[in-house]
Symmetry: C2
Subunit: 186 residues, 2 copies
DNA sequence: CGTTTCTTGAAACAGTCGTACCATATACTG
DNA sequence: CAGTATATGGTACGACTGTTTCAAGAAACG
């Protein structure tokens, strides 16, 4: 008996907190401004998530879930040549709508370099692409267990994303991807 | 008249502060622990640098100066094929001794995504390579003003550095660079 | 010596941080 | 209604932040 729990509240808070972190970044995150923006209180954030660290972990998990879902919705899994796929991935990841995700991605990586203990499964963010890419890049890969080609492909995309987010030079980065496609084709 | 100024003290402090930041990262930097590690006081740090922000700017400038000097010392500017050059750059940047610089580099980039106003010349960290690389990559570039090839080459290196610092998988990242060289050769 | 300038220590200020404690409000059961 | 569980507000604690203030020390000069 007693008042029934309301798990939906935690989910609502998590969703809005994820919006907030995507908008404002992880670096200077603090409970009081976050709570104010979410029309709640630090008290409730700790009540629902236990501690700031667990809240951040939940937000990152939620952001990853969202990213994966959006990706699955927007990348046709089977159609087209490997080159078309590569261009599709680049177009999708470099689109302005993805900028908050990209920023959070780079932010987590940087923090993970100083505090690896906080991100036990961060390597998965890299190797998780191999299964997805290995299938769509068939014809470029040297075999079904080729991890080197996906590694290079994702390195190009991440490196160009790094460049684009720093310089904002869309034309030059787009052309650099064209050049990479050209190298792959020959 | 009066006691003469001692500008050497500021330089000594700057050098040691740069060591400290390279070792501990920029993210959680705070004056009191820094001063303790440097056998000085927060009072003196502010006396010499004016504010924490100016101190950080000075440290970043010093770190960039060091990196450039080390690079100039270790990369033969003229000898060898473009491929050898590329391998040399990768070997140099991915060496464990460079890890602190790489970490700081990624950290500054991530912070710059959230606070661009603090890094007015951060694009230079990208485009600064073009002159250096354009010369050494002659034979791969399409012309003397080709910025696309250096963009792609540096994207590969940065992307692979991102991978290596996250996964620690030296073998796979080395092989990915081999594969890139192979693509360039054909 | 006194004067002047640079250097340095100690302490305090005003603020933010994550978090814990205590009381109360709310919604349900019997 | 009482009883019981969850939900929530308010407040305060201790630690930390960058920075300022006040005073004194240290090294030059006349």
């Amino acid at each position: 008996m007693g008042r029934p729990p309301d798990p939906a509240r935690r989910e609502r808070t998590l969703a809005r907190a994820t919006d907030y972190v995507l908008a404002h970044g992880l670096a200077g995150l603090s409970l009081r401004p976050l709570a104010a923006a979410l029309d709640t209180s630090p008290r409730m954030l700790l009540y629902d998530f236990g501690s700031k660290q667990e809240l951040v972990a939940a937000v990152l998990a939620e952001a990853r879930r969202r990213g994966a879902r959006r990706l699955a919705e927007n990348l046709p899994p089977e159609a087209g040549s490997p080159e078309e796929h590569l261009r599709g991935i680049w177009a999708w990841m470099s689109a302005p709508e993805r900028a908050p995700f990209v920023r959070l991605f780079f932010e987590v990586h940087a923090d993970g370099l100083t505090h690896p203990e906080n991100y036990p499964d961060r390597a998965e963010a890299i190797t998780g692409w191999f299964d997805t890419l290995g299938a769509t890049l068939r014809g470029i890969t040297t075999g079904p267990d080729d991890t080197v080609t996906p590694t290079l492909v994702m390195a190009v995309i991440r490196g160009l994303l790094f460049d684009l987010t720093t310089t904002g030079d869309r034309g030059r980065t787009d052309r650099a991807l064209d050049r990479f496609c050209e190298l792959l084709r020959r």
